[in-house]
């Protein structure tokens, strides 16, 4: 699983106890915005034979986020209730660590894969969760999801609703898309 982001570190950090991590939640700061850079290209840790250094504050932030999304009492019920089934991204900006957690689609073998279910966190240097955002509860990509369509959308020029045939294909597609993947295996009988 060399493409996983930080899973081993998060597993190790599960043993770290953080005072206050499981106490009553202080109010969050809704003014904190999650940076777009959190979802952009990231350096993947885990290359075999390569050592990495991670400071304790970052390790703590990862641990707090992982514990919040999957607290001890919810673990073990299925593969998707295990911390090692997820990918972890972390970005530090000033005194805030931003952590996002998403399902690793290849982590649970033949179990059905997950739509939504991830989360993002802003965590202060003192280990306090400043803001959490669960998948689906984030602000819509454009502000009109809760209103009538605005003028930003144009008539669809006769494209049938949901049609997938009109866009220009990626050139080239990622090579690992064409390597004969068998992620779903054979159909269950």
């Amino acid at each position: 699983m060399k493409h996983l982001l930080l899973p081993l570190l998060v597993l190790l950090s599960s043993c770290v106890r953080h005072a206050g991590a499981r106490t009553a939640n202080p109010p969050e700061d809704p003014s904190i915005q999650f940076p777009e850079a959190l979802g952009q290209d990231a350096i993947s840790l885990g290359a075999e034979g390569q050592a990495y250094v991670l400071d304790g504050a970052m390790l703590g932030a990862l641990s707090i986020a992982a514990e919040d999304l999957l607290p001890l009492e919810s673990r073990g019920r299925s593969c998707w209730n295990r911390q090692e089934s997820y990918l972890y991204r972390v970005l530090r900006q000033g005194d805030v660590f931003f952590v996002s957690i998403s399902a690793n689609p290849s982590a649970c073998g033949a179990e059905p894969r997950m739509l939504d279910g991830g989360a993002a966190y802003a965590i202060g240097m003192d280990g306090r969760i400043l803001r959490r955002r669960f998948d689906g509860a984030q602000e819509p990509l454009s502000p009109d999801a809760g209103t009538e369509p605005d003028s930003g959308a144009s008539p669809d020029a006769g494209i049938p609703v949901g049609d997938t045939t009109w866009g220009k294909p990626l050139q080239p597609v990622p090579s690992w898309w064409t390597d004969g993947g068998t992620d779903a295996g054979a159909a269950p009988r």
Partner: protein
Amino acid sequence: MWVNAQGPGVALAIAALGVCGCSSPQVADPDIVRPAPGAPFLDKLPGPMLGPFSSPSSALLAACRKILTKPHSSAGARDHQDFDIRWRVSSEYCAWMYYTPDQQYVVSKLTDQSRVDPLQRSKSCLLPSWVDDPRYPPDAIRYIYALHNHPYGSSLTENDIRFIVSEGLAHGFESETKDGRLRLSVVAFFSRNAAEPSCDGFHQYIPLTGQLLKWSRSGANWQCEQTGSVRWSDADTRTFSVQKRSAPCERSNTP
């Protein structure tokens, strides 16, 4: 002391108690399949629920209307006074729209199986990779749309994007149909009205084009907007980034 306990807030609070573990009798809905208590997650979805349809659009819109009539499929607007409760009790439903050997489009039954979350904060739907339609051999079914709803109408998530690419690796990223080569995509429906949900639009990601689209309905008219594009790394890290951009959907205006 008497407390004035009336209105939708109370009803939602009672519903919230139900999903938080108190006994809550559920009336069986023939459209929805779930694993038995304590059983593993379903690894295939039975079909059909809706169809057959002669076009992918008609099947898609029928699925949208159906899913958004299911209980708590929409949480409404965040500024609504009951939003927090509406969010906690909201549910995601998921299904496949598929193409059959007799050249029809069909929607599978729904499931709302999800990761266990005692606090009911996160929403998810575990969509099996396979549809079991006893009329056809498993390998004869072509997978077109992975369908689900977003209770708050938010855009597609990283999990949604990774999900559909993994399904593409399993089933192929496009299928030959009587309507041409249809590309696999993931769709998230939304409604603007939690009290009386209707099919008001959906977000869509098409891996083979990288397009992130948003379709919105106004009356009988639909509008399409390109909201961004997804670029995957070619490396084994399987990472991607999203470039946000707003542009009209035009055949000449593709990523």
